[in-house]
């Protein structure tokens, strides 16, 4: 299926991976609607930018209404995500607030946006990409599933349920659904983890580039594969690899 002329929706498109995805899809000939809570999304060249919050139902409905007015929707990239440390001994009210902060965007936001877009994708087929983390694949380093990010980890593990079930359900409509399980990529989210917003030299030397991950996304779309989690690890070739047997497509 050619993507040229199709509408692609990218959440969290102001910078980092989302911006790279939006630019790459535009290069492919898509009419891209990129949205973000940050107004910098309006400055991304070659796409239609919109300030909107994926955790708010009204915003999600406005995004999809606008996208459907641009043409036939063919791609949804669920990229927007929040991250924060949520130590297990946080005060009670903090723990309750943290649930909303992480889950409303990373899980409920993905649910609402996808539900709103799916009826359009069902018309003529399409692609959904869910952005996840390499924590959900067997560990290749000791840095996965950190002790102080239980909610972030849970929000990403939960996406396995969406990717798996949606791929099954939407197969009849020729809608492909896959997860991308990211290791450390040079993005504002990663830089934000360090005091000066700069990567330590040893990390900067090996960290993956958003443009290369965007290329991996195009390979996933071109492959026509569905119901898989694709990993990307620092220090390894970024590739979509051979298709694993059915029972290992989510767990790697």
């Amino acid at each position: 299926m050619s993507l040229s002329g199709k509408v692609a929706i990218v959440s969290g498109a102001a910078d980092g991976l989302g911006k790279a995805f939006a630019l790459r899809l535009a290069q492919e000939g898509c009419k891209v609607l990129g949205f973000d809570v940050r107004k910098e999304v309006l400055d991304v060249p070659g796409i239609t930018g919109m300030v909107a919050d994926v955790s708010k139902r009204g915003d999600v409905e406005s995004v999809v209404e606008k996208a459907s007015g641009m043409g036939e929707i063919g791609v949804l990239v669920n990229n927007a995500g929040t991250w924060k440390k949520t130590p297990v001994d946080s005060p009670w009210q903090q723990a309750i607030d943290d649930w909303d902060f992480i889950m409303d965007t990373n899980l409920k936001g993905v649910l609402m946006l996808s539900r709103a877009v799916v009826p359009f994708l069902q018309k003529d087929g399409g692609h959904i990409i869910n952005l996840s983390t390499y924590y959900v694949l067997p560990a290749k380093s000791d840095g996965t599933n950190q002790p102080d990010t239980d909610l972030y980890n849970a929000s990403k593990w939960a996406l396995n349920g969406f990717t798996d079930a949606w791929a099954d359900y939407l197969e009849k409509d020729n809608v492909k659904v896959n997860g991308m399980c990211m290791g450390a990529t040079d993005t504002p989210m990663l830089r934000g983890l360090f005091p000066t917003n700069e990567l330590p030299a040893e990390m900067a030397a090996v960290v993956m580039k958003a443009e290369d991950i965007a290329e991996q996304m195009m390979d996933i779309i071109a492959s026509g594969r569905t119901g898989e989690n694709f990993g990307a690890w620092v220090g390894e070739e970024i590739t979509i690899g051979e298709q694993p047997p059915l029972h290992k497509r989510i767990t790697g």
Binding site: L111, A154, A158, N160, L246
Partner: protein, 292 residues
């Protein structure tokens, strides 16, 4: 083997099914139990636990409501003096598919994710500071689903393929296309399993999960419109057998397994099998007591 007698536990979703079996098995071992559930039968369960000679308190409410969680945890601590065991069992199932409308989807999210993921989060977060402060270790067991640990993946292939219902081809992950929110809520528990196990290992607190296949329970009977065929029921696992496996795991104590998904899948024996290798964490990070 660790003696459980005299310890204090909380079991959520304990009015029926697996939850009530866990509560009764714990009481059988002499454990005092606080039980909670949406259903008012939970009070009768507490009555039957007291008849077994242990202390029991009961609370009716919704595990996705922080105030209810607080009431159960604080109430249990006040009644028993400490909390040593949490069995995060309360769960709901409902059909949800990729093209449901937004109204239904948001309601489903609140009910399914709210109960199965937020409920376990809130109970875990409420008991952890108490267990840490007590300084006497602890046990947290989350109840998940075999949809995430199917027979071919990720831990093992069934050793008895000729007798296994999934023997012809390894069973894929997932419970099917109408379980997107249910499966998401259960997959999400892995984030708690590994994160909590790492954070709590220095405090001698273990965190494990039971990944349940088809078990004769209120949830499964509901899935079959409360009218399952006899053959169907005969093929299901028994909640009492699973509760015994729970006791066996709790009796392992601090030197036992940690950060493990324990698979209970139809066609396999309902008993506690040996711990498996870690795939998602480095074993040293979840060795209980190592860093203390």
């Amino acid at each position: 083997m660790v003696k459980l007698k005299g310890k204090n536990a909380i079991v959520t979703g304990a009015a029926v099914g697996l939850g009530s079996s866990y509560a009764k098995a714990l009481a059988q071992e002499g454990v005092n139990v606080a039980v909670c559930d949406l259903r008012d039968e939970v009070h009768e369960v507490a009555e039957s636990l007291r008849a077994m000679g242990v202390n029991a308190v009961s609370y009716q409410g919704d595990v996705s409501d922080p105030d209810h969680v607080r009431a159960v945890v604080d109430g249990a601590r006040e009644a028993f003096g400490s909390i040593d065991i949490l069995v995060n069992n309360a769960g709901v199932w409902g059909a949800s598919v990729a093209d449901d409308d937004l109204d239904k989807s948001i309601a489903d999210y609140d009910q399914i994710v709210g109960t199965n993921l937020k409920g376990e989060y809130l109970f875990g977060r409420a008991v952890m500071p108490i267990m840490i402060e007590q300084g006497t270790g602890g046990e947290i067991v989350n109840i998940a689903t075999d949809h995430m640990v199917t027979c071919g993946t990720p831990y093992f292939c069934c050793p008895k393929l000729e007798t296994c219902p999934w023997g012809d081809s390894p069973r894929p992950t997932g419970g099917g296309d109408a379980m997107d929110l249910y499966d998401a809520s259960k997959w999400g528990l892995n984030g708690f399993l590994y994160g909590w196990a790492k954070a709590l290992a220095p405090h001698n607190i273990r965190v494990n999960a039971f990944c349940m296949g088809a078990t004769d329970s209120n949830m499964l009977r509901g899935f079959h419109n409360f009218d399952p065929s006899e053959e169907e029921v005969a093929s299901w696992m028994r909640a009492e057998d699973n509760a015994q496996a729970m006791i066996d795991m709790l009796q392992e104590g601090p030197s036992g397994r940690n950060a493990q998904n324990v698979n209970f899948c139809m066609g396999r024996p309902v008993r506690l099998e040996p711990a498996h290798d870690h795939l998602y964490v480095v074993p040293e990070q979840v060795r209980v007591g190592e860093a203390s």
